[in-house]
């Protein structure tokens, strides 16, 4: 059955203009259809979509806390099995980068290790946006946030690298892990549909622009996210059963754009342009990643 003409995520929610999270959610739900239960980790999505007594969710939806969405989903999986109602029901978790890479990593790892039939979708806006743009382990190297402030004694903003959460999940040897970008809609749809077909734990890492935290014009969301992939900073790939040797790049830019094209429209990277050496350093890291993986495909 095709539910692409149906909306399971109602408009009228309170997301900021230009927020990418609703785009991701709406497409995941369209592909999953009505026989779905959604679990949401604490974060922007939960707050802007359920201001009581209103809700955007036209599917059964539960939010419990920040770090435990995967555990809640595990309980739902078990309860459906125990009641003989498991067949045909999708269980989908949505978590931000905080609820996934940081505070929720333990319960996510536990869910993956136990092999629950659950699709986990991380919408990665690369900082704690719900509490007001604090750094997360998923914040990229060189980004300003309110807890990686830029000043004479900290010229880079964030000094540490982004945690490779999708690789970490692939290392769990779960059946399917993929990175997606809403600016590459057909690639994203293909991967979500594929994940929904597979039994067991699936993990999808979606880049998700936050206009407030990334500091860009709300009308540029798709444009900027497209640049994340065209510069090679956010590559699109998939790995099945943790087999890194068969990692498949699903989009290879003909000519990768220079990283500064991605940085320029975003206020969070503005300070980098005072020190072009830093941009060169980041460009080098991106080039090295591609040199390593491009040839495999």
């Amino acid at each position: 059955m095709n539910f692409e003409n149906q909306e399971f995520f109602a408009p009228g929610h309170r997301a900021c203009a230009g927020c990418a999270a609703p785009i991701i959610v709406k497409w995941v739900l369209k592909l999953a259809g009505p026989n779905t239960i959604v679990v949401n980790a604490t974060g922007c999505l939960e707050v802007f979509s359920t201001p009581y007594p209103h809700t955007s969710w036209r599917l059964p939806w539960i939010h419990v806390a920040f770090e435990n969405a995967s555990a809640v989903a595990s309980g739902i999986d078990a309860a459906l099995k125990a009641q003989g109602k498991r067949e045909g029901v999708n269980i989908i978790v949505f978590g931000g980068d905080g609820g996934t890479s940081d505070i929720g990593l333990q319960s996510l790892s536990g869910m993956a290790e136990r092999g629950h039939d659950i699709l986990y979708v991380m919408y990665d806006n690369e900082a704690y946006m719900n509490t007001g743009i604090q750094r997360s382990s998923s914040t990229p190297f060189g980004a300003w946030t309110t807890t990686s402030q830029v000043g004479p004694f900290n010229i880079l903003g964030k000094n540490e690298f982004k945690k490779p959460i999708a690789e970490i999940m692939a290392a769990h040897k779960i059946p399917y892990v993929a990175t997606v970008n809403p600016a590459f809609l057909s690639d994203m749809k293909m991967k979500i549909a594929k994940a929904l077909e597979i039994k067991g734990p699936k993990f999808i890492h979606a880049i998700s622009s936050c206009t407030t935290g990334w500091r860009h014009d709300p009308s540029k969301t798709i444009e900027i996210m497209r640049l994340a992939t065209e510069t090679g900073i956010f590559p699109l790939w998939e790995i099945e059963n943790g087999d890194f040797s068969k990692m498949r790049l699903t989009y290879i830019p003909k000519q990768r754009k220079p990283v500064e094209e991605y940085f320029k429209p975003q206020g969070r990277f503005r300070h980098l342009f005072q020190d072009p050496e830093k941009i060169k350093e980041i460009q080098k890291m991106v080039d090295e990643w591609w040199a390593k993986f491009e040839n495999k495909n």
Partner: protein, 399 residues
Amino acid sequence: MVMMMLKGNEATAYAAKIAKVQVIPAYPITPSTLFPEKVSELIANGEMKAEFIPVESEHSALSAAIGAAATGARTMTATASQGLALMHEVLFIASGMRLPIVMAIGNRALSAPVNIWAEQQDTIAQRDSGWLQFYAENNQEALDLTLIAFRVAEDERVLLPAMMGMDAFVLTHTMEPVDVPDDKLVEKFLGPPKPKYPILDPTKPATFGAFVFPEHYMEFRYSQFVAMEHSKKVIDEAFNEFKELFGREYKKVTGFMNEDAEILLVTMGSMTGTAREAVRKLREKGEKVGLIKLTVFRPFPKEELIEITKNAKIIAVVDRNISVGFAGAIFTELAASYNNIKEKPKILDFILGLGGRDIRLEDYYEIYNKAKESLNKEVKEINWINVDEEAVYEVEGPL
């Protein structure tokens, strides 16, 4: 009905089996580890049909329990001490979502210093979490009260989660003969595992755990308060039905040799057995002493406690917990219960048995003597029993 030799943890595992619990997420912790072990064994050998989730932490155990109960499954877990403390955040969510989860607790002291033995601080520290709290004196009670906890928690007038506490090792690891009731009789008592509340169901979408603003939040909390008040009546009904079906009698508050007693001991949990023996011995010497056992701590059985203690001269509360900075919890709540009553007994608090220190007959004699002394002279309100006070004063300075 079958008589079996069971440890406390096994008794609660059998309770899960005969209650037809459908989902059991659990994480091992001393002294409740035998619960998930026994459940795993009962499932492996085909005696029990349930989904066991070997989660990676207690936090996830209760989170998975919430997911399961919200999907309509009869759900149980077990933990103790640090594990219960780790669940703290999620306890409030389980009660706020009005999910009738039942949890068996091996009552154990909290760190630091680390200690794995009996104390009721772990559950007492969670008294404000909106869960019902039952306390067992022995393993038969542990099994029975687990069934009763389900009966009350699942009642439509209540729909609140419940914990059932049993003291570490004294009950969790000690074998006692336990009457394991027949499944059919239990089904008569509990009904089949069918949720009487809205669940996560794709045919009837609903939003659980929404973001609620000040204009609505307080009514949700008041609902919990009202449901907990309603549970008082439901608990009595459940106790009565239980007696009719299984022949064993429970009360929120049970008296022993209390009719004409001038001094009343108040106890909770496994310490009660020794207290009963102490009272018997003191009675033989002509002392007018009696005993009140507390089986339910949440909701606090204020009315019953006042009724049964009001004619005594002294109430000697025995607390196996301490709120540092004030007193033990039973003392605090009993004293508060008497707040607006003019004529009232003197109430004294006795802290003992922390971290598994043995509770002996001589401790009760000491308590009794101190309480009796207070008839004629001033005695301390909060008394620590069987503790090396001098050693502490040497380090901390005298009190």
